[in-house]
Symmetry: C2
Subunit: 429 residues, 2 copies
Amino acid sequence: MELLHNIIENKFTLGVIGIGRVGLPFGVSFAQKGVNVVGFDINEEIIRKVNSGQAPFFEVGLQDYMNEVSRTKKFTATNDHSLLQNVDVVIITVGTPLNTHMVPDYSQLFSALDKIVQYPISNKLIIIRSTSSPGTLESIVKPYIERKTNLKAGEDFFLAACPERIAGGKCIEELHGLPEIIGGISENCSRLTAEVFRKLNPNKKIFFTTPKSAELAKLFANVYRYVNFALANEFGLIAEEHGEDAHEIIKIVNEDYNRGKIPLPGLTGGPCLSKDGYFLTQHMPFPEFIHMASQLNENIPHHVISKLKKELAKENKTLVQCKVAVLGLAYKSGIDDTRLSPAVKLVDVLNGERCEVVTYDPYVNPSSGSLNDVVKDVDAIIIATNHPEFKILPTVLNGMTSNPIVIDCWRMFDGKELKGKYIAFGKGK
Amino acid sequence: MELLHNIIENKFTLGVIGIGRVGLPFGVSFAQKGVNVVGFDINEEIIRKVNSGQAPFFEVGLQDYMNEVSRTKKFTATNDHSLLQNVDVVIITVGTPLNTHMVPDYSQLFSALDKIVQYPISNKLIIIRSTSSPGTLESIVKPYIERKTNLKAGEDFFLAACPERIAGGKCIEELHGLPEIIGGISENCSRLTAEVFRKLNPNKKIFFTTPKSAELAKLFANVYRYVNFALANEFGLIAEEHGEDAHEIIKIVNEDYNRGKIPLPGLTGGPCLSKDGYFLTQHMPFPEFIHMASQLNENIPHHVISKLKKELAKENKTLVQCKVAVLGLAYKSGIDDTRLSPAVKLVDVLNGERCEVVTYDPYVNPSSGSLNDVVKDVDAIIIATNHPEFKILPTVLNGMTSNPIVIDCWRMFDGKELKGKYIAFGKGK
């Protein structure tokens, strides 16, 4: 195959459709290895920033790579999809969210495909990196492209699923280190895809499987985590009910015990874990099991607020009279991603209660002032994301005259170091 | 405390109430370390066997320990509970099963306590090793003993929860190596209990917590495993639905991926995992989540049989006309314990279908003949327990003229090495 030879010899151009949190670190990492990369997006602001060498969001190591790539000019961002003509390998990294009926919404994926098929695709390789339900590649994407082009996948052009498995905040590191799970429409599709990934790391471990298994693998991995976080939260609720401390119990259980790797309770959400269960539960046996995990995790922000309400009631206050500071908006520690963040949900619920809410997240809004200013006259503080920057809270509170209630969703503190009332999710009296 | 001193100096007698699969390895292990142990039971057959130096069930290393202890005469089994008078420390290891309403049945536990309180318990230590719902020690056992004796726990006598966490087949090894989680009614109760366990291993890691947290810790550990097995089984069902192979997918996901430790599908049950969820779900938020795991796991034997029925239907046969060999009766590999075994459930369901069932388990019935004889004229074989002894099945079948359907609940085989129709749980076409 000529394309195989060209990939091996690095005589090819890689197109990345969607240069968001998956696509940009991906494209830039390839460019950093000397591959010619064109990143496609419809967001002009992102394109402008990226072309001026600026990372449009925070991701560990991304800005360094972008600085390097700015010098070598190996990465270009564009909204001009006619440049797809010049691309030999195209990877689709657009979002596949759920719609309001909790059904996967592939509109961005098919919009990307529609652009791709406007130009000749003979001998080109198309890789789907976006999350999709099992069977999407074989039963929808493949016949869709074939119908639009009158070409045959695996013969005239090449097509593979290779779902992204990286974690926000570790994208660059994991892109190089994690194994890839490749499900090509045919053996040569898989082989070409593997060669592309070997540009990033010649020793990358590669697993070849069917497209459906590749799609399932990604979903199994995320649903496994999501269900385990739900279980940890269940244990948090149970421990509270019994007046005990789930964090302490779980740490004890896990230590020197090879059958125990129970995660700790905390707010669970984010753009992957929250939705991936629904990609699996279509025409599936026992969908309730995964849906229950979702209900449980989605209930935790409400549960935390009801803990706050009970505490306020003891002081004869209601939420509507109060000012509450929410620390953290990102869905997890050390990142600025707020998509499907339980911290944002918490703010929404508080707003619905008509209480005065102030928020503080040094990752999401780096210019949002100091922790000091945010918490100085509030009735309560909710730690919604466990950013390490919040560790100074006890010192900040010690320097103040007020005594806000602190609700710790992450057990960042023991409680003793904080003056005033301390309440932790997963801990009873 | 005199008792503390006596424990440290090994001038004490340990009583173990219930010398079954938990109590016997426990008592014998202490005796092997030179502690005087009296094991109490109501089963005369067990007492006779144990006193003649014979392990009444299979457990790795137990018979060796019993041989040693027979010589030193450090362990005596008895049904004479008046000997409780001579005991300084008594540990209760009786079963706490669920009753038919799925409510914990503590009758054996309270029957043991009733015997204990017939004799003076001043300055004695009572340890509850049986599984119990959170709060049982503090809210039921403690006031029960205090009412019966007019003595005060933590002052006049000592009381602690230290639930067993060992796995069948690894009891002896884990009893020495695993950390203990001790929840005493008071600090001195915990300290005494720790000193007892240090007789087994002076470097044993010991965690001190509240009685409720100790009870919860045991339940969290088992429910965590049970829910994860349910999830693995869910993945098995999903993979089947999509015509893919859950084992292959899960192995790929887990490799070199520190967020993936997904267990493999298989029949899930046994005396601990099956029931422990119900100890937690009393007056608990979201009991459905754990109940769903139970429904899912309990459904797998039915699911496997319906796979067999579909396969037989292709040959125009129904179960009632067939002879089926079930390989394995124990609830997991390498042991002879059939309590709440899904393999036994499978046999029950087959019997209910009025098919002819033959069973074979070299651990449960060591004298049950050869695999060859069992499978020679059957229509189907179900591998219900993954005992390593079944690995010879392909060779056995190759030597036969018949071609039974093989249903593999554990993916012991790839399928290609077996002649005839091979069907695996968790694997589609």
